[in-house]
Symmetry: C2
Subunit: 579 residues, 2 copies
C-alpha cells in the first residue's frame, strides 16, 4: 500500500477551502496545552515514571494521532487510567527502578502493535465488549485507586508503592509524621482547585461572559502550577529541601536499557497487561470520540481509530514515553475552545514541548503534592454516581455488574477487575438469550393477526397449537426452548388434544447446527407421539440454511410462509379429513 500524503486526514482537512478557521485551532491548541503540561507531569508520576515520560508522551504520539486520526478534536496523550494500569504492570513485572522506563516502552510498543493487529483484522467491533455499567464501575474503581495512590504524595510523604488497603493504612500510620511544610503545596493546590466555584463567582462579578469564565478556569491547573513554582522559588534552600519535588527533567539520560529491551521474557510477561491497556485505551478513546462526534454530526469509525491509536502508541514507544489514549478532559477543552481540525493537537504538542524544554529547569522545582492535587481533582470527576443511580433504577442486574466490577478493581486490582466485569456482562447477555420468551398465539377474530391469548381475545383452532419463539435458536438455548415448548404442549392438553404444532419463527434470525439437530430430533419425537411439527414465518436467510439440513427434509410440506397460511392449510386439511 502506497501512502499518499494527501490521504492523511489532517492534510485533507487543511486543504479543504472551507476550513478557514485555523485561528480557532491555534487558540484551542494553546488552551489544551495549558491543561496538558500539568497532566503530563502528573500522569507520569501516577505511572511511577520520570516526569520526562509524560512530556514525551504528549509530543510525538499526539502529532502522529493528529496526522492519522479521524476524530477532529480528540486529544491523544497520557491519560489517568492507562497510567494507573502501567503502574500496576510495572510494579508486578519490572519492580527494579532501573527498568521501569524500559518496561513502559515495551508496554507502549505492545499496545501499539496489538491495536494495529486489531486494525488489520478489522476488529473495531471489540469496542462493544464493555457495557456502560461495567465501564462506569471500572472507571470509578480506577479513580478510587488513583486517589488512594496520590494520598502520600499529596501530603509530601515518600511511601513505597503498595496495594490500596496497605497504602491507606500506611498513610494513616504516617499522618503524625507529616511535615506541615511538605504537605502545604499539595493541600493548598487542592484548595485552589476545589475553590473553582469561588473563582467563577469572582469572575462573574468582574463582568466576564460565561464563555470567558469557562476558558479562564480551564487554565486553573496551569495557574496553580505557576503559583507553586513561584512559591518554591522564593523558599529558602533549607525549606525547599523538605519538599518532594519533581526534580530535573533529564532529557539527555538514556531512558531505555537495551539488554532489558531485548529480553523476550519481559515482553512476554508484559503482554497480558498490554492487551488490557490496549482495550481500555481503545474503548475510552472511542467513547470520547463518540461524544465529540455526536456534537458535530460526525461518525466514528472504530477500525480507523484503531490504526491511528496504534501508530500513536508506536510513536510513544519510539520516543521512550508511555502508552497513550484519548483524554476526556483535554478533548472536551479542545472541542469547546473551538478546535476544528487536528491542527489544534499539533499546536498543543509543540506548545507543551516548548514549555517543557525551555522551562525544564523551573519545572524541576514543582512539588509532587501539586501534581497529586491535580490528579485527585481530575479523577473525582470520573465518579458518575448519578448515572449509577439511574442504572440501578433501570436494571438491578446491571447495577450489580457495575458494583462487582468496582469491587473487583478495588479488591483484585485493575486488570482482574476489568476482566471480571467484561466476562460478567457478556455472561449476562448470553444468559438472557438462554431463556427466551415463548408465547402461544391465537387469531384475532376476523383478521390475519395472531396474538397472545392471555392478553387478547383470540380464537384458537381445536387440535392446533401455535407457539412463537422470540429469540434466535442456538446451542446455548435450544435445550431450554425445547423444555418450554414441551411445557406449553402439556399445558395445551398434550398429544391427546393437540395434533399439529406450529412454531412461528418471525423473531428467529438464526438457527445454528446444534439447534437444527435438536429440532429435528424433537420433530421425530413428536411424530412418535402422533403430533406433526410445522414451521411458519421462517426468515429468508434461516430458510436458506435449513434447506441444507435434515430438519427441512423431515418437515417437507410443513413449512408455511405465514402463520395465517399455516392455519388455513391445517383447517382445510382437517375439514377435508372430516368431510
Amino acid at each position: 500500500m502506497r501512502l499518499r500524503l494527501g490521504a492523511l486526514p489532517l492534510l485533507a482537512d487543511l486543504r479543504r477551502p472551507d476550513s478557514r478557521p485555523r485561528r480557532d485551532d491555534v487558540a484551542a491548541g494553546l488552551l489544551t496545552a495549558a491543561l496538558l503540561l500539568p497532566q503530563a507531569l502528573a500522569y507520569a508520576q501516577l505511572a511511577g515514571l520520570p516526569a520526562r515520560a509524560g512530556v514525551l508522551a504528549s509530543l510525538l504520539p499526539a502529532i502522529v494521532y493528529a496526522l492519522f486520526g479521524r476524530s477532529r478534536a480528540l486529544a491523544v496523550g497520557p491519560v489517568a487510567v492507562a497510567a494507573l494500569m502501567v503502574a500496576e504492570a510495572l510494579a508486578r513485572h519490572a519492580p527494579e527502578a532501573a527498568l521501569v522506563s524500559t518496561a513502559a516502552v515495551i508496554l507502549a510498543a505492545e499496545v501499539g502493535l496489538l491495536l494495529l493487529l486489531l486494525r488489520g483484522l478489522r476488529w473495531g467491533g471489540l469496542v462493544a465488549l464493555i457495557s456502560h455499567p461495567v465501564l462506569l464501575g471500572f472507571t470509578a474503581g480506577a479513580a478510587l485507586l488513583i486517589l488512594l495512590s496520590q494520598l502520600a504524595p499529596l501530603l509530601g510523604l515518600a511511601l513505597p508503592r503498595a496495594g490500596p488497603l496497605a497504602t491507606l493504612q500506611a498513610v494513616v500510620a504516617a499522618l503524625p509524621r507529616v511535615d506541615p511544610l511538605a504537605a502545604a503545596p499539595g493541600l493548598l493546590a487542592m484548595l485552589m482547585l476545589l475553590a473553582r466555584p469561588l473563582w467563577a463567582a469572582a469572575l462573574r462579578r468582574a463582568r466576564l461572559g460565561a464563555d470567558a469564565i469557562d476558558t479562564t478556569l480551564r487554565t486553573l491547573p496551569l495557574v496553580v502550577v505557576l503559583l507553586a513554582l513561584l512559591a518554591v522559588a522564593l523558599l529558602p534552600e533549607a525549606a525547599r529541601a523538605r519538599l518532594q519535588l519533581v526534580g530535573p527533567l533529564d532529557w539527555a539520560a538514556p531512558a531505555v536499557d537495551l539488554p532489558a529491551l531485548a529480553d523476550a521474557g519481559l515482553w512476554r510477561a508484559l503482554l497480558p497487561s498490554a492487551a488490557l491497556i490496549a482495550l481500555v485505551a481503545f474503548v475510552e478513546s472511542i467513547a470520547v470520540a463518540r461524544v465529540l462526534a455526536a456534537r458535530r454530526r460526525e461518525a466514528v469509525r472504530p477500525d480507523a481509530e484503531l490504526g491511528a491509536l496504534g501508530l500513536a502508541n508506536l510513536a510513544a514507544a519510539f520516543s521512550s514515553a508511555m502508552p497513550v489514549a484519548g483524554s476526556f478532559s483535554r478533548s472536551v477543552v479542545n472541542a469547546q475552545a473551538g478546535a476544528r481540525t487536528q491542527l489544534a493537537g499539533v499546536i498543543a504538542a509543540f506548545a507543551v514541548g516548548a514549555l517543557a524544554l525551555l522551562g525544564s529547569g523551573v519545572l524541576a522545582l514543582l512539588p509532587r503534592g501539586v501534581l497529586a492535587a491535580i490528579i485527585i481533582v481530575a479523577v473525582v470527576a470520573l465518579l458518575d454516581w448519578r448515572r449509577a443511580a439511574e442504572i440501578y433504577r433501570y436494571d438491578r442486574r446491571e447495577a450489580l455488574a457495575l458494583a462487582i466490577t468496582l469491587a473487583g478493581v478495588l479488591l483484585l486490582g485493575i486488570e482482574a477487575g476489568l476482566l471480571v466485569g467484561v466476562l460478567l456482562a457478556l455472561g449476562q447477555a448470553l444468559r438472557r438469550t438462554m431463556r427466551p420468551h415463548i408465547t402461544a398465539l391465537g387469531r384475532v377474530p376476523g383478521t390475519e393477526h395472531f396474538r397472545n391469548p392471555r392478553r387478547h381475545a383470540v380464537e384458537q383452532s381445536p387440535g392446533l397449537l401455535l407457539l412463537r419463539v422470540d429469540e434466535s435458536l442456538y446451542f446455548a438455548n435450544i435445550a431450554a426452548v425445547e423444555d418450554r415448548l414441551e411445557a406449553e404442549l402439556a399445558a395445551a392438553g398434550g398429544p391427546a388434544v393437540v395434533r399439529d404444532l406450529v412454531l412461528v419463527l418471525s423473531a428467529v434470525s438464526a438457527i445454528d447446527a446444534s439447534a437444527e439437530e435438536a429440532l429435528e430430533a424433537w420433530a421425530h419425537s413428536l411424530e412418535e407421539r402422533g403430533l406433526r411439527l410445522h414451521l411458519a414465518e421462517v426468515k429468508g436467510p434461516v430458510m436458506d440454511r435449513l434447506r441444507q439440513g435434515r430438519l427441512a427434509r423431515r418437515l417437507e410440506g410443513r413449512i408455511h410462509l405465514s402463520t395465517h397460511a399455516a392455519v388455513a392449510a391445517l383447517e382445510q386439511d382437517r375439514g377435508a379429513a372430516a368431510g
Copy 2:
C-alpha cells in the same frame, strides 16, 4: 434436609408395582459387565493408572449413581475421554509414579465437589456451554490423541509418555525394534475386533436372530480378553516374559500417599484440570442421558444429574479410583439389553467386582496390547465424520469452529483445545447478536400488515420511515444498530424527506442500560435534525423497564401500541397539520 431412603430414585422405581421386569435388569447388568470389565482395565491404562483404579471406579461410583441418578439406563464408571484428561493432568502435575494414584483421587474428589457446588447453585444450564460442533471436534481430537497414546502398548513397546507428535515419532522410530511376539496379542485382538462383520455373517449363517447376534457380539471384547488370557496361560514362561502384561491387581497395596493427599499445593494445581474434567463428564453424561431419555419419553434434569454425578465422583475418590462419568457405549448396551431401572447398574458393578476379585490372578496375565486394541476400536467409533460433513453443509462457520477445536486439542492439548472451542462458539454466538437484521417496513395495502418493501408490494407514507430491528438491543450491538439505522435513514432521503422515524420493536425482548442510554442520545440527535423518533410494539417487560429511564421521558406520547396505531396517529397528525 433429611434423606428419606424412599426418595432415592432407584428404590422408588423398585417399589413401583409395574416395575416387574427385574429379570431384564439382571440380564442387562450382566451384559454390560461383559463390556465394563475390559473397559475398566483399558481406561485405567489410558489414564496411566494401575488396573485396580479402573475396576474400583466401576464398583462404588456406579452403585452410588444407581441409587441417586435419575437416568434409568445411564452406565456410570470409567470413560475414555475423562481418562485421557486425567492422564494429561497427571503428566503435568504429578509426574512421579508414586503420586499418580493420589493425584487421581484428588482429581476425583475435586470433580465431585465441583459438580455438587454447581448442583447447589443450580447451574445445570452450564451443560449448554458446549455447542454440538465443538463437542464433535473435541471428541474427535480426544479420540485421535487416545489412539496415538495406545500405539506403543498395541505393539508391545514400552515408551515414555509424551506429546502426540513426539509419541508418533518415537513409535515410528521404534518400529524396527518391535518384538513380533510382544506385538502379536494387540494386533491379533485388533483383527478379531475389526472382524465384527465376519462374525455377524457367521452368526447369521447359524440362523441366529438379529437381536441375538447383536447381544452376542457385544461380548466380543470379553471374548477377546478370555482368548488372550488362555493363550498367554499356555505360553512357556520365557515367551511370556517378552510380553507387556497388566500384572497383578494389588488390592492390598496402599493406593493413596497421605502426605501428598494433604498437600494443598497439589489440590490447587489440579483444580483447573478438575474443573474441565467436571465440565466434560457432565456434558457427556447429559448428552448420553438425553439420547436414552428420548427413546423412553423421559426428560433429563441437568440439575439433578449434577448431584448424582458429583456423589459418584466423591465415591470414586473414597474408593481410591479415578473420575467417572456416563459411558456412551455401555449405556447403549445397557438400554438395548432391556435395562428398566438402575438395578442393572448395580448388577453390573457387582458382576465386575466378583470377576475382578475372583479372577485377579488370571487377569494379571492379560497383555496390555489387547487393552490397547479394545481402546482403539472403541474410540474410532467416536469419530463422527458424517455429522461433521452435515455441519459443513449447514454452516461453514460452525464447521470452522469444529475444525479449530479439533486442531486445538491436537496441537495445544485436550484442556486448552476444549477452552478454545468453548470460547470460540460463545464468541460466534455473541457476534451473531452484534449484527442484527434491520428492515424497513411498508403497509400491505388494505391491511394492518407491515412488510419489507423489497419483498412485498407495500405503501409507504411520505415523511414516515418504519424500521424493524430483529434482535434484543444491548451494549454489544447498539452501536452497530445505530449505524445501520442511520444508513437506512440516509437511504430514505435523510432529514430532508423523513420527519418521523418509527422503530418497530416486535422482536426486541430486552433493551439494556447501555442501549437505552444510546437510544436516548440518538433520539436527541434526531430531534436536533428535526426528526422525531417513535417506538411501536414494545413488549410488556421491555416497556416496564423503559418507564424507569430517560428514553421513555424523552419519547413521551411517541410510544405506540402497534405499528398500525403509530402510522394512523402520524397520518392523522399530518392531516391535521395540513388541514
